[in-house]
Assembly symmetry: C2
Homo-oligomer: 231 residues x 2
DNA sequence: CAAATTATTTTCCGGATTGGACCAAATAGT
DNA sequence: ACTATTTGGTCCAATCCGGAAAATAATTTG
Protein backbone atom coordinates (compact mmCIF):
# COMPACT_ATOMS: atom_id res chain seq x y z
CA UNK A 1 0.00 0.00 0.00
CA UNK A 2 1.04 3.57 -0.50
CA UNK A 3 -0.04 6.71 1.26
CA UNK A 4 -0.32 9.07 -1.71
CA UNK A 5 -1.06 8.79 -5.37
CA UNK A 6 2.08 7.87 -7.21
CA UNK A 7 1.86 11.23 -8.95
CA UNK A 8 2.37 13.09 -5.72
CA UNK A 9 4.59 10.63 -3.97
CA UNK A 10 6.31 12.26 -1.07
CA UNK A 11 9.24 10.03 -0.34
CA UNK A 12 9.78 7.43 -3.02
CA UNK A 13 12.05 4.98 -1.28
CA UNK A 14 12.94 4.06 -4.78
CA UNK A 15 12.68 5.78 -8.15
CA UNK A 16 9.40 5.58 -10.03
CA UNK A 17 9.66 3.20 -12.92
CA UNK A 18 9.28 4.35 -16.50
CA UNK A 19 6.42 2.04 -17.39
CA UNK A 20 4.58 3.45 -14.43
CA UNK A 21 4.49 7.01 -15.73
CA UNK A 22 3.51 5.64 -19.13
CA UNK A 23 0.45 3.84 -17.84
CA UNK A 24 -0.42 6.80 -15.68
CA UNK A 25 -0.39 9.04 -18.72
CA UNK A 26 -2.37 6.56 -20.75
CA UNK A 27 -4.92 6.47 -17.97
CA UNK A 28 -5.03 10.24 -17.67
CA UNK A 29 -5.61 10.72 -21.37
CA UNK A 30 -8.26 8.03 -21.46
CA UNK A 31 -9.91 9.49 -18.39
CA UNK A 32 -10.07 12.96 -19.86
CA UNK A 33 -11.61 11.64 -23.03
CA UNK A 34 -14.18 9.53 -21.23
CA UNK A 35 -15.13 12.14 -18.67
CA UNK A 36 -15.52 14.72 -21.42
CA UNK A 37 -17.85 12.42 -23.31
CA UNK A 38 -20.01 11.01 -20.57
CA UNK A 39 -19.41 13.08 -17.48
CA UNK A 40 -18.22 11.81 -14.13
CA UNK A 41 -21.25 9.76 -13.26
CA UNK A 42 -21.63 8.38 -16.75
CA UNK A 43 -18.07 7.12 -16.86
CA UNK A 44 -16.92 3.86 -15.33
CA UNK A 45 -13.38 3.15 -14.30
CA UNK A 46 -13.55 0.04 -16.41
CA UNK A 47 -14.37 2.13 -19.48
CA UNK A 48 -11.37 4.31 -18.81
CA UNK A 49 -9.06 1.35 -18.31
CA UNK A 50 -10.28 -0.18 -21.55
CA UNK A 51 -9.65 3.02 -23.51
CA UNK A 52 -6.18 3.14 -22.02
CA UNK A 53 -5.56 -0.50 -22.89
CA UNK A 54 -4.80 -1.28 -19.31
CA UNK A 55 -6.18 -3.56 -16.61
CA UNK A 56 -8.70 -1.71 -14.52
CA UNK A 57 -7.24 -2.45 -11.10
CA UNK A 58 -4.29 -0.31 -12.10
CA UNK A 59 -6.53 2.68 -11.54
CA UNK A 60 -6.83 1.79 -7.90
CA UNK A 61 -3.11 1.24 -7.74
CA UNK A 62 -2.08 4.51 -9.34
CA UNK A 63 -4.89 6.86 -8.35
CA UNK A 64 -6.56 5.24 -5.38
CA UNK A 65 -10.09 5.73 -6.71
CA UNK A 66 -12.29 7.23 -9.40
CA UNK A 67 -12.56 10.61 -7.74
CA UNK A 68 -8.82 11.08 -7.39
CA UNK A 69 -8.37 9.98 -10.97
CA UNK A 70 -10.77 12.69 -12.06
CA UNK A 71 -8.83 15.28 -10.11
CA UNK A 72 -5.52 14.08 -11.46
CA UNK A 73 -6.91 14.22 -14.99
CA UNK A 74 -8.24 17.73 -14.49
CA UNK A 75 -4.92 18.82 -13.01
CA UNK A 76 -3.14 17.29 -15.96
CA UNK A 77 -5.06 19.07 -18.71
CA UNK A 78 -5.40 22.39 -16.94
CA UNK A 79 -1.77 22.53 -15.97
CA UNK A 80 -0.76 21.79 -19.54
CA UNK A 81 -3.04 24.52 -20.80
CA UNK A 82 -1.79 26.96 -18.24
CA UNK A 83 1.76 26.22 -19.34
CA UNK A 84 1.15 26.91 -23.01
CA UNK A 85 -0.76 30.03 -22.08
CA UNK A 86 2.05 31.36 -19.94
CA UNK A 87 4.51 30.59 -22.67
CA UNK A 88 2.52 32.64 -25.13
CA UNK A 89 2.09 35.47 -22.65
CA UNK A 90 5.83 35.63 -22.15
CA UNK A 91 6.46 35.70 -25.88
CA UNK A 92 4.04 38.58 -26.38
CA UNK A 93 4.84 40.49 -23.22
CA UNK A 94 6.34 43.36 -25.21
CA UNK A 95 3.29 43.84 -27.43
CA UNK A 96 0.15 45.91 -26.95
CA UNK A 97 -2.62 44.70 -24.61
CA UNK A 98 -4.82 43.99 -27.59
CA UNK A 99 -2.15 41.84 -29.19
CA UNK A 100 -1.68 40.04 -25.93
CA UNK A 101 -5.36 39.29 -25.57
CA UNK A 102 -5.46 38.28 -29.19
CA UNK A 103 -2.62 35.84 -28.61
CA UNK A 104 -4.37 34.53 -25.55
CA UNK A 105 -7.52 33.80 -27.51
CA UNK A 106 -5.53 32.06 -30.18
CA UNK A 107 -3.88 29.86 -27.60
CA UNK A 108 -7.22 28.96 -26.14
CA UNK A 109 -8.74 28.13 -29.51
CA UNK A 110 -5.75 26.09 -30.59
CA UNK A 111 -5.70 24.23 -27.33
CA UNK A 112 -9.43 23.61 -27.50
CA UNK A 113 -9.01 22.23 -30.99
CA UNK A 114 -6.41 19.66 -29.97
CA UNK A 115 -7.93 19.02 -26.56
CA UNK A 116 -11.66 19.70 -26.75
CA UNK A 117 -11.93 17.97 -23.42
CA UNK A 118 -10.70 21.13 -21.73
CA UNK A 119 -13.93 22.86 -22.55
CA UNK A 120 -16.15 19.82 -22.38
CA UNK A 121 -15.10 18.86 -18.89
CA UNK A 122 -15.84 22.34 -17.65
CA UNK A 123 -19.28 22.27 -19.22
CA UNK A 124 -19.98 18.76 -18.00
CA UNK A 125 -19.14 19.59 -14.44
CA UNK A 126 -20.92 22.92 -14.43
CA UNK A 127 -24.07 21.03 -15.35
CA UNK A 128 -25.01 20.55 -11.72
CA UNK A 129 -23.46 21.37 -8.33
CA UNK A 130 -20.81 18.98 -7.14
CA UNK A 131 -17.72 18.98 -4.94
CA UNK A 132 -15.72 18.52 -8.11
CA UNK A 133 -17.07 21.73 -9.57
CA UNK A 134 -16.13 23.63 -6.41
CA UNK A 135 -12.68 22.15 -6.52
CA UNK A 136 -12.26 22.88 -10.22
CA UNK A 137 -13.25 26.51 -9.80
CA UNK A 138 -11.07 27.08 -6.79
CA UNK A 139 -8.06 25.23 -8.12
CA UNK A 140 -7.94 26.13 -11.80
CA UNK A 141 -10.74 28.31 -13.09
CA UNK A 142 -10.67 31.17 -10.64
CA UNK A 143 -6.99 32.11 -11.08
CA UNK A 144 -7.32 32.01 -14.82
CA UNK A 145 -10.64 33.84 -14.89
CA UNK A 146 -9.48 36.58 -12.54
CA UNK A 147 -6.44 37.18 -14.65
CA UNK A 148 -8.34 37.23 -17.93
CA UNK A 149 -11.16 39.40 -16.61
CA UNK A 150 -8.69 41.92 -15.28
CA UNK A 151 -6.97 42.04 -18.64
CA UNK A 152 -10.25 42.34 -20.47
CA UNK A 153 -11.39 45.17 -18.22
CA UNK A 154 -8.34 47.19 -19.17
CA UNK A 155 -9.12 46.63 -22.83
CA UNK A 156 -12.61 47.91 -22.23
CA UNK A 157 -11.22 51.06 -20.66
CA UNK A 158 -9.03 51.53 -23.70
CA UNK A 159 -12.06 51.25 -25.95
CA UNK A 160 -10.75 48.11 -27.61
CA UNK A 161 -13.18 45.62 -26.11
CA UNK A 162 -16.94 46.05 -26.17
CA UNK A 163 -18.20 47.83 -23.03
CA UNK A 164 -20.47 46.24 -20.45
CA UNK A 165 -20.19 43.75 -17.61
CA UNK A 166 -16.69 42.38 -17.92
CA UNK A 167 -17.47 38.99 -16.43
CA UNK A 168 -20.31 38.45 -18.87
CA UNK A 169 -18.12 39.48 -21.75
CA UNK A 170 -15.33 37.19 -20.70
CA UNK A 171 -17.61 34.21 -20.42
CA UNK A 172 -19.03 34.92 -23.84
CA UNK A 173 -15.54 34.83 -25.28
CA UNK A 174 -14.75 31.65 -23.42
CA UNK A 175 -17.93 29.90 -24.50
CA UNK A 176 -17.56 30.98 -28.11
CA UNK A 177 -13.93 29.95 -28.31
CA UNK A 178 -14.17 26.63 -26.57
CA UNK A 179 -17.69 25.77 -27.58
CA UNK A 180 -17.17 25.98 -31.31
CA UNK A 181 -14.34 23.50 -31.14
CA UNK A 182 -16.06 21.19 -28.69
CA UNK A 183 -19.09 21.02 -30.96
CA UNK A 184 -17.02 19.76 -33.86
CA UNK A 185 -19.26 16.76 -34.50
CA UNK A 186 -22.36 18.83 -34.68
CA UNK A 187 -21.05 21.84 -36.57
CA UNK A 188 -20.09 19.77 -39.56
CA UNK A 189 -23.52 18.28 -40.01
CA UNK A 190 -25.61 21.25 -39.00
CA UNK A 191 -23.69 24.19 -40.42
CA UNK A 192 -21.27 22.75 -42.93
CA UNK A 193 -18.20 23.80 -41.00
CA UNK A 194 -15.08 21.67 -41.02
CA UNK A 195 -13.23 22.07 -37.77
CA UNK A 196 -10.26 20.16 -39.07
CA UNK A 197 -9.65 22.73 -41.76
CA UNK A 198 -7.00 25.18 -40.53
CA UNK A 199 -8.77 27.94 -42.42
CA UNK A 200 -11.87 27.36 -40.33
CA UNK A 201 -9.78 27.75 -37.20
CA UNK A 202 -8.36 31.00 -38.52
CA UNK A 203 -11.81 32.22 -39.43
CA UNK A 204 -13.00 31.47 -35.91
CA UNK A 205 -10.11 33.30 -34.30
CA UNK A 206 -10.54 36.32 -36.49
CA UNK A 207 -14.27 36.37 -35.96
CA UNK A 208 -13.83 36.33 -32.21
CA UNK A 209 -11.43 39.24 -32.37
CA UNK A 210 -13.64 41.14 -34.80
CA UNK A 211 -16.63 40.67 -32.57
CA UNK A 212 -15.27 41.11 -29.08
CA UNK A 213 -12.29 43.39 -29.63
CA UNK A 214 -13.45 45.67 -32.44
CA UNK A 215 -11.64 48.80 -31.31
CA UNK A 216 -8.13 49.88 -32.31
CA UNK A 217 -5.42 50.52 -29.77
CA UNK A 218 -4.87 54.23 -29.11
CA UNK A 219 -1.86 55.19 -31.21
CA UNK A 220 -0.17 56.98 -28.37
CA UNK A 221 -0.29 53.93 -26.17
CA UNK A 222 3.09 52.83 -24.89
CA UNK A 223 3.43 49.18 -25.78
CA UNK A 224 5.64 48.31 -22.87
CA UNK A 225 3.38 47.37 -20.03
CA UNK A 226 4.72 44.31 -18.35
CA UNK A 227 2.24 41.49 -17.86
CA UNK A 228 3.00 39.04 -15.14
CA UNK A 229 2.22 35.43 -15.83
CA UNK A 230 -0.48 33.62 -13.91
CA UNK A 231 0.44 32.05 -10.60
CA UNK B 1 -48.98 -4.67 -25.55
CA UNK B 2 -49.19 -1.70 -27.88
CA UNK B 3 -47.62 -1.14 -31.25
CA UNK B 4 -46.70 2.53 -30.92
CA UNK B 5 -45.80 4.89 -28.14
CA UNK B 6 -48.93 6.26 -26.61
CA UNK B 7 -47.85 9.68 -27.83
CA UNK B 8 -48.15 8.61 -31.43
CA UNK B 9 -51.02 6.22 -31.11
CA UNK B 10 -52.50 5.46 -34.46
CA UNK B 11 -55.96 4.24 -33.72
CA UNK B 12 -57.00 4.82 -30.14
CA UNK B 13 -59.99 2.56 -29.79
CA UNK B 14 -60.75 4.82 -26.88
CA UNK B 15 -59.65 8.31 -25.93
CA UNK B 16 -56.42 8.75 -24.04
CA UNK B 17 -57.06 9.35 -20.38
CA UNK B 18 -56.16 12.62 -18.70
CA UNK B 19 -53.91 11.14 -16.05
CA UNK B 20 -52.02 9.47 -18.85
CA UNK B 21 -50.93 12.71 -20.45
CA UNK B 22 -50.06 14.01 -16.99
CA UNK B 23 -47.65 11.20 -16.23
CA UNK B 24 -46.25 11.44 -19.73
CA UNK B 25 -45.52 15.10 -19.19
CA UNK B 26 -44.03 14.45 -15.77
CA UNK B 27 -41.82 11.85 -17.34
CA UNK B 28 -40.83 14.11 -20.21
CA UNK B 29 -39.84 16.94 -17.88
CA UNK B 30 -37.92 14.62 -15.63
CA UNK B 31 -36.23 13.03 -18.60
CA UNK B 32 -35.10 16.36 -20.00
CA UNK B 33 -33.69 17.38 -16.67
CA UNK B 34 -31.86 14.11 -16.14
CA UNK B 35 -30.52 13.83 -19.68
CA UNK B 36 -29.29 17.42 -19.51
CA UNK B 37 -27.41 16.69 -16.31
CA UNK B 38 -25.90 13.33 -17.01
CA UNK B 39 -26.24 12.68 -20.71
CA UNK B 40 -27.96 9.74 -22.31
CA UNK B 41 -25.61 7.05 -21.14
CA UNK B 42 -25.28 8.49 -17.67
CA UNK B 43 -29.01 8.55 -17.07
CA UNK B 44 -31.02 5.56 -15.93
CA UNK B 45 -34.71 5.13 -16.56
CA UNK B 46 -35.14 4.61 -12.85
CA UNK B 47 -33.57 7.96 -12.13
CA UNK B 48 -36.02 9.59 -14.49
CA UNK B 49 -39.00 7.80 -13.00
CA UNK B 50 -37.90 8.82 -9.52
CA UNK B 51 -37.59 12.47 -10.48
CA UNK B 52 -41.04 12.27 -12.04
CA UNK B 53 -42.45 10.62 -8.93
CA UNK B 54 -43.68 7.73 -10.97
CA UNK B 55 -43.12 4.00 -11.02
CA UNK B 56 -40.40 3.17 -13.46
CA UNK B 57 -42.23 0.49 -15.47
CA UNK B 58 -44.51 3.25 -16.69
CA UNK B 59 -41.68 4.35 -18.92
CA UNK B 60 -41.87 1.11 -20.80
CA UNK B 61 -45.61 1.47 -21.02
CA UNK B 62 -45.65 5.01 -22.32
CA UNK B 63 -42.47 5.24 -24.34
CA UNK B 64 -41.49 1.68 -25.08
CA UNK B 65 -37.84 2.21 -24.10
CA UNK B 66 -35.15 4.63 -23.05
CA UNK B 67 -34.25 5.66 -26.55
CA UNK B 68 -37.80 6.55 -27.54
CA UNK B 69 -38.19 8.44 -24.32
CA UNK B 70 -35.15 10.50 -25.20
CA UNK B 71 -36.58 11.30 -28.61
CA UNK B 72 -39.97 12.18 -27.18
CA UNK B 73 -38.30 14.46 -24.63
CA UNK B 74 -36.24 16.17 -27.31
CA UNK B 75 -39.33 16.60 -29.46
CA UNK B 76 -41.16 18.04 -26.51
CA UNK B 77 -38.66 20.73 -25.58
CA UNK B 78 -37.70 21.69 -29.12
CA UNK B 79 -41.29 21.91 -30.26
CA UNK B 80 -42.14 24.12 -27.30
CA UNK B 81 -39.18 26.35 -28.06
CA UNK B 82 -40.07 26.53 -31.72
CA UNK B 83 -43.58 27.55 -30.77
CA UNK B 84 -42.53 30.44 -28.55
CA UNK B 85 -40.04 31.50 -31.20
CA UNK B 86 -42.66 31.55 -33.92
CA UNK B 87 -44.99 33.46 -31.68
CA UNK B 88 -42.37 36.12 -31.13
CA UNK B 89 -41.55 36.26 -34.83
CA UNK B 90 -45.17 36.81 -35.66
CA UNK B 91 -45.47 39.60 -33.11
CA UNK B 92 -42.43 41.38 -34.50
CA UNK B 93 -43.04 40.69 -38.18
CA UNK B 94 -43.68 44.35 -38.87
CA UNK B 95 -40.44 45.54 -37.31
CA UNK B 96 -36.97 45.94 -38.77
CA UNK B 97 -34.77 42.88 -39.33
CA UNK B 98 -32.52 44.00 -36.52
CA UNK B 99 -35.46 44.21 -34.12
CA UNK B 100 -36.59 40.80 -35.24
CA UNK B 101 -33.21 39.24 -34.65
CA UNK B 102 -33.02 41.05 -31.35
CA UNK B 103 -36.37 39.60 -30.33
CA UNK B 104 -35.22 36.18 -31.43
CA UNK B 105 -32.16 36.36 -29.24
CA UNK B 106 -34.26 37.48 -26.31
CA UNK B 107 -36.57 34.54 -26.79
CA UNK B 108 -33.65 32.18 -26.89
CA UNK B 109 -32.07 33.63 -23.77
CA UNK B 110 -35.35 33.63 -21.87
CA UNK B 111 -36.09 30.11 -22.91
CA UNK B 112 -32.59 29.00 -21.99
CA UNK B 113 -33.02 30.56 -18.58
CA UNK B 114 -36.22 28.69 -17.79
CA UNK B 115 -35.18 25.55 -19.62
CA UNK B 116 -31.40 25.35 -19.59
CA UNK B 117 -31.83 21.78 -20.72
CA UNK B 118 -32.46 23.00 -24.26
CA UNK B 119 -28.85 24.05 -24.56
CA UNK B 120 -27.41 21.37 -22.33
CA UNK B 121 -28.94 18.51 -24.23
CA UNK B 122 -27.54 19.83 -27.47
CA UNK B 123 -24.08 20.12 -25.97
CA UNK B 124 -24.31 16.74 -24.29
CA UNK B 125 -25.24 14.96 -27.47
CA UNK B 126 -22.77 16.82 -29.64
CA UNK B 127 -20.07 15.51 -27.36
CA UNK B 128 -19.60 12.41 -29.49
CA UNK B 129 -21.17 10.94 -32.60
CA UNK B 130 -24.39 9.07 -32.04
CA UNK B 131 -27.58 8.21 -33.92
CA UNK B 132 -29.35 10.57 -31.56
CA UNK B 133 -27.18 13.47 -32.65
CA UNK B 134 -27.91 12.76 -36.30
CA UNK B 135 -31.60 12.59 -35.56
CA UNK B 136 -31.52 15.78 -33.51
CA UNK B 137 -29.77 17.73 -36.22
CA UNK B 138 -32.01 16.51 -38.98
CA UNK B 139 -35.23 16.84 -37.06
CA UNK B 140 -34.83 20.05 -35.10
CA UNK B 141 -31.49 21.82 -35.41
CA UNK B 142 -31.15 22.08 -39.16
CA UNK B 143 -34.46 23.83 -39.85
CA UNK B 144 -33.86 26.31 -37.08
CA UNK B 145 -30.24 26.90 -37.99
CA UNK B 146 -30.93 27.38 -41.66
CA UNK B 147 -33.58 29.93 -40.86
CA UNK B 148 -31.45 31.84 -38.38
CA UNK B 149 -28.35 31.78 -40.53
CA UNK B 150 -30.28 33.13 -43.47
CA UNK B 151 -31.65 35.93 -41.33
CA UNK B 152 -28.23 36.69 -39.92
CA UNK B 153 -26.71 36.81 -43.38
CA UNK B 154 -29.13 39.52 -44.39
CA UNK B 155 -28.19 41.51 -41.31
CA UNK B 156 -24.55 41.20 -42.30
CA UNK B 157 -25.34 42.58 -45.73
CA UNK B 158 -27.11 45.48 -44.10
CA UNK B 159 -24.04 46.20 -42.01
CA UNK B 160 -25.86 45.49 -38.78
CA UNK B 161 -24.18 42.22 -37.89
CA UNK B 162 -20.44 41.73 -37.79
CA UNK B 163 -19.09 40.49 -41.15
CA UNK B 164 -17.46 37.11 -41.68
CA UNK B 165 -18.54 33.50 -41.99
CA UNK B 166 -22.22 33.53 -41.14
CA UNK B 167 -22.35 30.01 -39.78
CA UNK B 168 -19.49 30.71 -37.40
CA UNK B 169 -21.12 33.91 -36.27
CA UNK B 170 -24.45 32.23 -35.70
CA UNK B 171 -22.93 29.49 -33.61
CA UNK B 172 -21.08 32.02 -31.52
CA UNK B 173 -24.36 33.74 -30.76
CA UNK B 174 -26.00 30.45 -29.96
CA UNK B 175 -23.21 29.29 -27.68
CA UNK B 176 -22.99 32.61 -25.88
CA UNK B 177 -26.72 32.88 -25.35
CA UNK B 178 -27.40 29.35 -24.26
CA UNK B 179 -24.09 28.70 -22.60
CA UNK B 180 -24.20 31.56 -20.15
CA UNK B 181 -27.51 30.37 -18.80
CA UNK B 182 -26.56 26.72 -18.78
CA UNK B 183 -23.45 27.53 -16.77
CA UNK B 184 -25.46 29.11 -13.99
CA UNK B 185 -23.88 27.03 -11.26
CA UNK B 186 -20.39 27.87 -12.31
CA UNK B 187 -20.85 31.52 -13.16
CA UNK B 188 -22.01 32.36 -9.68
CA UNK B 189 -18.96 30.91 -8.00
CA UNK B 190 -16.35 31.82 -10.55
CA UNK B 191 -17.45 35.24 -11.74
CA UNK B 192 -19.93 36.51 -9.16
CA UNK B 193 -22.85 36.56 -11.56
CA UNK B 194 -26.36 35.81 -10.39
CA UNK B 195 -28.32 34.22 -13.17
CA UNK B 196 -31.55 34.49 -11.23
CA UNK B 197 -31.32 38.24 -11.14
CA UNK B 198 -33.44 39.66 -13.99
CA UNK B 199 -30.95 42.45 -14.37
CA UNK B 200 -28.26 39.94 -15.15
CA UNK B 201 -30.46 38.48 -17.85
CA UNK B 202 -30.99 41.92 -19.32
CA UNK B 203 -27.31 42.64 -19.17
CA UNK B 204 -26.63 39.42 -21.04
CA UNK B 205 -29.15 40.17 -23.76
CA UNK B 206 -27.88 43.67 -24.26
CA UNK B 207 -24.30 42.51 -24.31
CA UNK B 208 -25.06 39.97 -26.99
CA UNK B 209 -26.74 42.59 -29.14
CA UNK B 210 -23.97 45.09 -28.52
CA UNK B 211 -21.35 42.57 -29.52
CA UNK B 212 -22.89 40.74 -32.43
CA UNK B 213 -25.23 43.34 -33.91
CA UNK B 214 -23.35 46.60 -33.38
CA UNK B 215 -24.53 48.36 -36.53
CA UNK B 216 -27.60 50.55 -36.90
CA UNK B 217 -30.29 49.82 -39.44
CA UNK B 218 -30.05 52.02 -42.52
CA UNK B 219 -32.56 54.82 -41.96
CA UNK B 220 -34.05 54.47 -45.42
CA UNK B 221 -34.84 50.83 -44.84
CA UNK B 222 -38.49 49.94 -45.31
CA UNK B 223 -39.55 48.12 -42.17
CA UNK B 224 -42.14 45.96 -43.86
CA UNK B 225 -40.36 42.87 -45.05
CA UNK B 226 -42.49 39.87 -44.29
CA UNK B 227 -40.72 37.07 -42.44
CA UNK B 228 -42.22 33.64 -42.77
CA UNK B 229 -42.22 31.49 -39.70
CA UNK B 230 -40.18 28.32 -39.54
CA UNK B 231 -41.66 25.16 -40.95
C1' DC C 1 23.73 -11.28 -9.20
C1' DA C 2 20.46 -11.07 -5.52
C1' DA C 3 17.35 -8.75 -2.75
C1' DA C 4 14.09 -5.35 -2.19
C1' DT C 5 10.72 -2.64 -4.15
C1' DT C 6 7.53 -1.35 -7.60
C1' DA C 7 4.30 -2.49 -11.07
C1' DT C 8 1.13 -5.57 -13.38
C1' DT C 9 -1.87 -9.46 -13.85
C1' DT C 10 -5.48 -12.30 -12.48
C1' DT C 11 -9.26 -13.54 -9.92
C1' DC C 12 -12.90 -12.54 -7.03
C1' DC C 13 -16.58 -10.20 -4.39
C1' DG C 14 -20.86 -8.28 -2.59
C1' DG C 15 -23.81 -5.19 -3.99
C1' DA C 16 -26.06 -2.02 -6.76
C1' DT C 17 -28.19 -0.98 -11.06
C1' DT C 18 -29.54 -2.00 -15.46
C1' DG C 19 -33.66 -2.31 -18.87
C1' DG C 20 -37.50 -4.71 -19.17
C1' DA C 21 -41.42 -8.53 -18.34
C1' DC C 22 -45.51 -9.73 -16.04
C1' DC C 23 -50.00 -9.58 -13.91
C1' DA C 24 -53.37 -8.06 -10.73
C1' DA C 25 -55.70 -3.95 -9.30
C1' DA C 26 -57.53 0.48 -10.07
C1' DT C 27 -59.34 3.96 -13.01
C1' DA C 28 -61.82 6.29 -16.40
C1' DG C 29 -64.11 6.52 -20.77
C1' DT C 30 -68.27 4.71 -23.31
C1' DA D 1 -71.89 -1.54 -16.25
C1' DC D 2 -68.77 -2.89 -19.32
C1' DT D 3 -64.19 -2.59 -21.20
C1' DA D 4 -59.98 -0.56 -22.70
C1' DT D 5 -56.53 2.06 -20.58
C1' DT D 6 -53.50 3.11 -17.00
C1' DT D 7 -51.13 2.12 -12.84
C1' DG D 8 -49.03 -0.48 -8.81
C1' DG D 9 -46.27 -3.95 -7.17
C1' DT D 10 -43.16 -7.56 -7.94
C1' DC D 11 -39.72 -10.01 -10.06
C1' DC D 12 -35.81 -11.24 -13.05
C1' DA D 13 -31.66 -12.17 -15.32
C1' DA D 14 -27.82 -9.73 -16.77
C1' DT D 15 -24.50 -6.69 -16.31
C1' DC D 16 -21.76 -3.43 -14.35
C1' DC D 17 -20.00 -1.18 -10.34
C1' DG D 18 -15.75 0.20 -7.53
C1' DG D 19 -12.61 -1.94 -5.07
C1' DA D 20 -9.88 -5.88 -2.38
C1' DA D 21 -6.56 -9.34 -2.43
C1' DA D 22 -3.10 -12.31 -3.73
C1' DA D 23 -0.03 -14.14 -7.12
C1' DT D 24 3.21 -12.91 -10.67
C1' DA D 25 6.44 -10.17 -13.17
C1' DA D 26 9.65 -6.54 -13.94
C1' DT D 27 13.18 -3.00 -12.25
C1' DT D 28 15.97 -0.70 -9.56
C1' DT D 29 19.49 -0.74 -6.20
C1' DG D 30 23.07 -2.51 -3.32
Amino acid sequence: MHEESALHNVQPARKQQQRSVVTQQKLLNAAIEAFAENGFKGTSTRDIAERAGVHHPLITYHFKNKDQLWRAAADYIFTAFSASLNKSLKEHSNLSPKSQMSAMIRVYVSYAKDHPALHKVMVQEASYPSPRLDWLIEEHLKPFFDFAIDMLGKLQQLGVAVPGNTAVLFNMIRLSSGGLLALGNELGDSSGLDIDDPETIDEICEMILRVFLPGEMPAAYAANTAVESIA
